[in-house]
C-alpha cells in the first residue's frame, strides 16, 4: 500500500493529546466537520452504490428467478443447483483454474525474469521495448493476429512445415486442453509487457545501497536475486500477482474471439458461461447465478490473497 499512498504529514496524525500541539489545536472538532466530510464523500458513495452495489444486489436477486427478459418467476436456488449439476460448468471452472495457474506462471513469471534480467543490461531497454510493445495492442487485435497464427494451416503450422517439423502440426485451437494452453500463451505475449513495467518500477524503488552491500558481502547472481532483490520487490509482486489473479478469473475477450468457448464448451471460462447463459440463451437468472458465483470466487481469492500478503510484519 505504501506504493500508492502519499506520505501523511505528521501533524495530521498527531494525537490531540500531544502536548506539543496543545496550544495550537482547537479543543474540540467543529460541529460542521462530520457534515462537511459526509458531503464530500456523498458523490463518490452515491456513484459506487448506484453503479456497483445496486446492480450487484439486483444480480443476486435475479439469480433466484427464472427470467427470460419478459417474464420472471421465483425458482429459489434452482439456478444454482442446475449450474453445479451442469458438466459444462465443471469444465468452465477447470478452464478458469488453468487460466489462473497459467497466468501466474507465464506473464508474471516471465515478466519478473525479463525485468530482473534486463534492467541493468546496456541494451536491456531494447529487449524490454520488444516485450512491452504487444501491450500497446488491444486484446481484440491480439486475438485476430493469433487466430491467423493458430488456425489449421495458419501461420504456426506453415512455419512448422517449413522447418520440417510436420509431426508437430496440430489443430491448435480445436483440441482441448491444447487450445486453452495456446490461448494462455497468446495472452502471455500480450500481457507480459505490463508485468515487466510494474516490476521495473519495483526494481527502481530498491535502494541501491542494499544491493551494493550484498555485493560487497559476496552475493551475486541467483543468491543476490533470491536473498536481496526479490524480498524487496515484495510490495510490487503482491500488486502484480493480485491483478493477475483477478484478471485471469474473469478472462473473456481472448477466449470469445479465439475459440468462442468451443469446440462445444470445451474451452469456456466462467465469464463465457455467464455470457452464454445471459446473452445467447437469454436465461438471465442462470447467467446471474454464474455471475454471483464468479464474483464470490474473485472476491474470496482476492481477499484470501491480500489478507495473507498484506499482513503487518509484526502481526
Amino acid at each position: 500500500m505504501t506504493l500508492t499512498q502519499p506520505p501523511v504529514p505528521q501533524e495530521a496524525v498527531a494525537s490531540p493529546d500531544d502536548p506539543t500541539r496543545a496550544s495550537a489545536a482547537p479543543p474540540h472538532r467543529p460541529r460542521r466537520a462530520p457534515l462537511a466530510g459526509a458531503a464530500f464523500l456523498a458523490p463518490a458513495v452515491a456513484l459506487v452504490v448506484l453503479l456497483l452495489v445496486v446492480p450487484f444486489a439486483f444480480t443476486i436477486y435475479r439469480s433466484f428467478f427464472d427470467d427470460n427478459g419478459f417474464t420472471r418467476s421465483w425458482v429459489g436456488l434452482d439456478n444454482y443447483t442446475a449450474m453445479f449439476a451442469d458438466p459444462a460448468f465443471g469444465q468452465s471452472v477447470l478452464n478458469t483454474f488453468f487460466w489462473v495457474v497459467g497466468t501466474l506462471l507465464l506473464p508474471v513469471g516471465l515478466g519478473l525474469a525479463i525485468a530482473v534480467g534486463t534492467w541493468k543490461l546496456k541494451l536491456g531497454a531494447v529487449a524490454r521495448f520488444a516485450v512491452i510493445l504487444p501491450y500497446a495492442i488491444s486484446g481484440s487485435a491480439t486475438a485476430v493476429v493469433w487466430t491467423f497464427m493458430l488456425s489449421t494451416d495458419g501461420g504456426l503450422d506453415t512455419l512448422l512445415r517449413l522447418l520440417g517439423l510436420d509431426p508437430l502440426v496440430s489443430q491448435w485451437l480445436l483440441q482441448w486442453p491444447l487450445n486453452t494452453v495456446m490461448m494462455i500463451i497468446a495472452t502471455t505475449w500480450q500481457a507480459t509487457g505490463a508485468c515487466v513495467i510494474l516490476f521495473l518500477v519495483g526494481l527502481q524503488s530498491i535502494p541501491p545501497s542494499t544491493l551494493e552491500a550484498a555485493q560487497l558481502d559476496g552475493a551475486s547472481g541467483w543468491r543476490l536475486f533470491w536473498a536481496v532483490t526479490f524480498p524487496q520487490l515484495r510490495p510490487m509482486t503482491i500488486v502484480v500477482v493480485g491483478i493477475s489473479i483477478v484478471g485471469s478469473l474473469k478472462v473473456f475477450d481472448q477466449v470469445l474471439l479465439l475459440t468462442n468457448g468451443g469446440p462445444g464448451t470445451a474451452s469456456e471460462t466462467l465469464a463465457l458461461t455467464m455470457y452464454r447463459e445471459t446473452f445467447t440463451l437469454s436465461r438471465y437468472g442462470s447467467g446471474a447465478a454464474v455471475a454471483v458465483f464468479l464474483t464470490v470466487v474473485v472476491v474470496a481469492a482476492s481477499y484470501a490473497y491480500l489478507r495473507r500478503q498484506l499482513r503487518p510484519a509484526n502481526g
Binding site: 419478459f70 488456425s151 489449421t152 489443430q171 480445436l174 468451443g262 469446440p263 446473452f279 440463451l281 437469454s282
Partner: protein
C-alpha cells in the same frame, strides 16, 4: 499567507471541483435523455432496427418504391453485434423506445418473443399478400404462433452448393443431379488436389449446415419431425446422417472445420476452391468481392435416394411491428406493402438473393437460375435448423455438432446424437412449460 505563485486571478480547487461536478452532471443528464434513434421518426418515415449494417442501401432502394406506393420511407439503423442486437430488441420492444419495425428471425426465435405479447398480429397482412400472390402460403407457418402471424418475410434464402465453374470444367465434372454424382464429383476434385467442400463450423453456427442438409436429403419428413419434437435424435435417419457425414470426413471431402466462408474468394483465385454448401445470401458477398456468374455456380444437394422427395432448406428473416411502435399503423402499412413485387424487385436488386415473392427475381443469373429451378420442381421447403426448434436447444446442439466436426468419428457421431437427444428432452419440457 500570500499566494505562493503570484499572478492574476486563479481558479481555486473548490471552483474546479464545482465546475467538474457540474460538467459531469450535465453529461449524465444528457446521457439519460432519449436519443434520436428512439424518438418518433420524421413525418413520412418509419424506423427499422436491424443487425445487418450493410443493408442500408437496400432499404433505401425499397423505400423509393414504398414512398411512391404509401408515402412512407424506411429509416434504418443497425447494431452489428447479433448478441447485442437481440438483447436491445428484447428490452426496447417492451417500451416506447422501440423502432417502428424490427428485423428478427422466424420460427421458434420469433415465437419466443411473440409469447411476450410485444409484437403486432399481422394475420391481415398475410391474408392480403397471399391473396395477391406475393408470397408462398407455406411460409406462413414459420411466422405464426398460436394462430397469429407476427412478421412477414424480410428476405428468403436457400441453402445450396456454391461451386467453382473453373474447377468443374477443368476436371470434367457436370453439375450433380444425384447424390452419387455429388460424391463422385467430390472424389474427382480430391484426386485433383482440391479440397472438395469448404465447411466452416467448429465454433460457429455453421456446424448445423451439413447436419440439416444430410437429414433433408435422407429423410425430409424426419427432419421436420425431429425439429418439432415429433421424433428422437437417436432415430435411424439421424444415425444414418451422422454416419454419412463421418464417412465423408474420412474420405477427405471436407476442409478443416476452422476455416471461414470468407476464405472462399481467395481460394477461387488460387484455383483451390471446389464447393461450399451455404445460404444463397452469401452470393452478394461473393459478387461484391469481384467474383462473377462465370466463376461461381449454384446447385441444390440432390436427395440421397431417387425415391426420396426433393427438399431444400430455407432461411428467412422476419419484418415485425412492435406493439409499442410510435407509428404502428404506418409500420403495418409498410409490412403490408413489403412483399409487393415492385418493392421486392428493388430489395433483391440490392441483395442479389432470392425473394419471398416468387415473381421478384434478382439481376444475377446465379440466383435467378436456382430460383427458377425451385419454382419448376417445387421441392419441400424446410425451415433452417437455427430457427426450427427452441433457441437453447439449437444453440446447444450446434455446439455439439461443431465438436463433432473437429473429431468426426462414427463413435463421436453416436455420442453427439445422444447428447442432442438428452438436451432435446430437457429443452422441450422447458419450452412446453413456459
Amino acid at each position: 499567507m500570500p499566494h505562493p505563485i503570484p499572478g492574476g486571478p486563479s481558479m481555486t480547487r473548490r471552483t474546479a471541483l464545482a465546475l467538474g461536478g457540474a460538467g459531469l452532471l450535465t453529461a449524465t443528464l444528457a446521457a439519460c435523455a432519449r436519443g434520436t434513434d428512439t424518438r418518433p421518426s420524421a413525418p413520412g418515415t418509419v424506423t427499422l432496427n436491424s443487425d445487418n449494417p450493410t443493408w442500408g442501401p437496400g432499404y433505401d432502394a425499397a423505400s423509393d418504391v414504398l414512398a411512391a406506393r404509401i408515402g412512407y420511407r424506411i429509416t434504418s439503423r443497425s447494431i452489428a453485434s447479433v448478441a447485442n442486437y437481440n438483447q436491445i430488441i428484447r428490452m426496447t420492444a417492451q417500451t416506447n423506445s422501440t423502432t417502428d419495425l424490427i428485423k428478427w428471425t422466424n420460427g421458434y426465435r420469433l415465437q419466443d418473443i411473440a409469447r411476450a405479447d410485444i409484437l403486432t398480429d399481422l394475420n391481415e397482412v398475410w391474408d392480403d399478400a397471399i391473396g395477391r400472390g406475393w408470397v408462398d402460403p407455406a411460409q406462413r407457418a414459420s411466422f405464426t404462433y398460436e394462430g397469429k402471424a407476427y412478421g412477414v418475410p424480410l428476405y428468403k434464402s436457400y441453402y445450396a452448393v456454391f461451386y467453382s465453374k473453373r474447377a468443374f470444367a477443368e476436371n470434367g465434372i457436370d453439375v450433380p443431379t444425384t447424390f452419387d454424382d455429388l460424391m463422385s464429383a467430390a472424389q474427382t476434385l480430391k484426386d485433383a488436389g482440391i479440397t472438395p467442400f469448404l465447411a466452416p463450423g467448429a465454433t460457429t453456427w455453421e456446424s448445423e449446415i451439413w447436419f440439416m442438409q444430410l437429414l433433408a436429403s435422407l429423410d425430409p419428413d424426419y427432419y421436420a419431425a425431429v425439429t418439432t419434437n415429433q421424433a428422437s435424435y437417436v432415430d435411424d435417419p439421424a444415425r444414418a446422417a451422422m454416419d454419412l457425414w463421418s464417412t465423408m470426413y474420412s474420405d477427405g471431402f471436407f476442409s478443416a472445420p476452422d476455416v471461414t466462408s470468407n476464405d472462399l474468394p481467395g481460394l477461387v483465385s488460387e484455383g483451390r476452391f471446389g464447393m461450399m454448401l451455404y445460404g444463397t445470401w452469401f452470393a452478394n458477398t461473393l459478387l461484391a468481392s469481384g467474383l462473377t456468374d462465370d466463376d461461381i455456380g449454384f446447385f441444390r444437394v440432390p436427395p440421397h435416394a431417387s425415391s426420396t422427395a426433393p427438399a431444400v432448406i430455407v432461411e428467412s428473416g422476419s419484418l415485425s411491428v412492435p406493439v409499442k411502435a410510435h407509428r404502428r399503423d404506418a409500420a403495418v402499412d409498410v409490412a403490408r406493402n413489403w412483399l409487393a413485387t415492385d418493392v421486392q424487385e428493388a430489395w433483391v436488386g440490392f441483395l442479389g438473393d432470392t425473394s419471398p415473392n416468387p415473381a421478384a427475381l434478382p439481376k444475377s443469373d446465379l440466383v435467378k437460375d436456382l430460383a427458377a429451378g425451385i419454382a419448376a420442381e417445387g421441392p419441400t421447403e424446410l425451415i433452417r435448423y437455427w430457427e426450427a426448434s427452441p433457441t437453447p436447444l439449437v444453440e446447444g446442439n450446434v455446439q455439439d455438432l461443431g465438436s463433432f466436426m473437429v473429431t468426426p468419428s462414427k463413435a463421436h457421431g453416436e455420442s453427439t446424437l445422444r447428447s442432442m437427444e438428452a438436451r432435446a428432452r430437457t429443452e422441450w419440457k422447458i419450452w412446453d412449460a413456459a
